[in-house]
């Protein structure tokens, strides 16, 4: 009998009751920054938060299907706007940072790394985040169009499923060069892998990254904490962290 009750105890101990932990759905390109923001926020507020990483599209789908997320930190404006229009947000999405596009290569040195090098024999494949779903991919295509290069190098383009996979294509040398987010290049994990140059930001529409506070019922125990984190995201402290990672 004692064994049975112990067993039951273990069983129920394993099944958490709905957690009070605040869950932040985070787009892949912000994941490294979010780690630092999380530390700062937890230090300041004493509240624990949990970060779930995915592509903005996937997270949007999950939120629409009722995933228990509290704040959605997206890679662009489109997805949070979509959620807001469907009535999933507590308020309108707000832009928390502007992304910076870089051209990145494992082997080509900074001096040679321009959009012109993409047309040469040296570069056989160019990795771009899928422009249909990734804002950095969209921006990369705008840059190539502005430079009138799109037609000539279209055959060289390969599309990463996310910004992270595109980074993998570039750092493994599978593609000689590619476009990515400055925040990824500057992250601890990627620092020092290859060479990069920042792309003239007038060549593409600003990559606005927005977040949205998701709807809570008034008696939700997570409501106050979620609001606190959402406020923190737009604080001077957070802005400094974002800048450190190459956001504007």
């Amino acid at each position: 009998m004692r064994w049975l009750s112990l067993l039951l105890f273990l069983f129920f101990a394993g099944c958490d009751k709905p957690s009070d932990k605040i869950i932040i759905a985070t787009a892949a390109n912000v994941q490294y920054v979010m780690k630092e923001i999380q530390q700062e926020f937890e230090k300041e507020s004493g509240k624990k938060i949990q970060i779930v990483v995915g592509s903005s599209g996937k997270l949007t789908t999950q939120i629409r299907e009722g995933a228990p997320f509290d704040v959605f930190v997206s890679a662009d404006v489109k997805y949070p706007q979509e959620i807001f229009e469907k009535g999933g947000g507590a308020e309108k999405p707000k832009v928390y940072a502007l992304g910076t596009l870089v051209l990145w290569s494992k082997d080509i040195a900074e001096n040679d790394l321009t959009t012109d090098v993409l047309t040469t024999e040296k570069v056989k494949k160019i990795a771009v985040p899928n422009p249909k779903v990734a804002p950095y991919g969209e921006a990369a295509i705008q840059v190539l169009a502005a430079k009138n290069l799109l037609k000539t190098i279209e055959k060289k383009l390969v599309y990463g499923e996310s910004i992270a996979q595109t980074a993998q294509y570039i750092t493994s040398g599978s593609a000689e060069a590619g476009f990515n987010a400055l925040s990824i290049v500057l992250s601890d994990e990627m620092k020092g892998k290859g060479h990069y140059v920042i792309i003239d930001s007038t060549l593409y529409k600003p990559i606005q990254q927005a977040a949205i506070l998701l709807k809570h019922s008034d008696d939700s125990p997570k409501k106050a904490g979620s609001e606190a984190f959402y406020q923190f995201l737009y604080s001077q402290k957070a802005k400094a962290i974002f800048r450190k990672y190459g956001y504007k």
């Binding site: 082997d107 494949k125 990795a127 249909k132 779903v133 390969v158 493994s172 599978s174």
Partner: protein
């Protein structure tokens, strides 16, 4: 609807299955009848794709195919071919990934035949080659059919590996499963649904045909 990803999927599955059929026959024969030490090692290697996550295979193939590593570099310098982000690369990946689906049913089919069939053929003066192609293979048609269709279906359903090494190039590496994923990412559910429905219907039809054919083959055999 853009039919290109679907056509590409079926082209990939057909080519992969045909190559695997040729490759798997000797392997299955060898595994079924040869006596050698270290059989467990060989079987484990062939069976790995059954249990490994496709992302693991995809990840290592991405590195192997990349010109920064020796294999990719070797292929590129000898044949001028870059396997990563190419259709040939997908074919090679699919062949590795679906290998057990072709080898195992054929091996099981060969082993289920009575040993006396093979031995009778030898006593009639026939070598292993003739015995294999004229006696053993014709008598395990259901196993061959099963193996071919499982391989085909498994390749149609391949996703993780293609996502890792394909690069999503329309008409080259953007197969249906990836197209579905993209459409879902872009919140374009109707388009995802169309692709998914076609895959659903086609795979159901294929399996239906196989099982009907196999059942009727067995019925003929047992009707004596």
């Amino acid at each position: 609807m853009d039919f290109q990803p679907l056509l590409l999927t079926f082209k990939l599955a057909t080519i992969t299955s045909l190559i695997l059929l040729v490759v798997s026959l000797p392997i299955a024969y060898w595994l079924a009848f040869a006596k050698f030490k270290g059989r467990g090692v060989v079987e484990a290697i062939i069976g790995m794709p059954l249990v490994l996550p496709p992302s693991v295979i995809g990840f290592y193939l991405l590195l192997a195919f990349s010109p920064s590593y020796w294999f990719g570099n070797f292929i590129e310098s000898i044949f001028g071919l870059r396997l990563v982000f190419s259709f040939s690369g997908l074919v090679i990946a699919s062949v590795l990934y679906s290998l057990p689906f072709m080898v195992y049913p054929i091996r099981a089919g060969l082993q289920s035949l009575p040993a006396s069939l093979r031995e009778a053929s030898y006593t009639l003066g026939k070598n292993e080659w003739d015995t294999f192609f004229k006696v053993l293979l014709p008598n395990c048609k259901p196993a061959l059919l099963t193996a071919f269709v499982l391989t085909f279906a498994h390749t149609v359903g391949e996703f993780g590996v293609v996502l890792m090494i394909g690069g999503n190039i329309p008409g080259v590496t953007k197969v249906a499963s990836v197209a579905i994923y993209n459409e879902v990412e872009a919140l374009n559910y109707p388009a995802a649904n169309q692709y998914a429905m076609v895959l659903f219907a086609v795979t159901f039809l294929i399996l239906l045909v196989v099982y009907s054919v196999n059942n009727s083959l067995l019925r003929v055999r047992q009707s004596s």
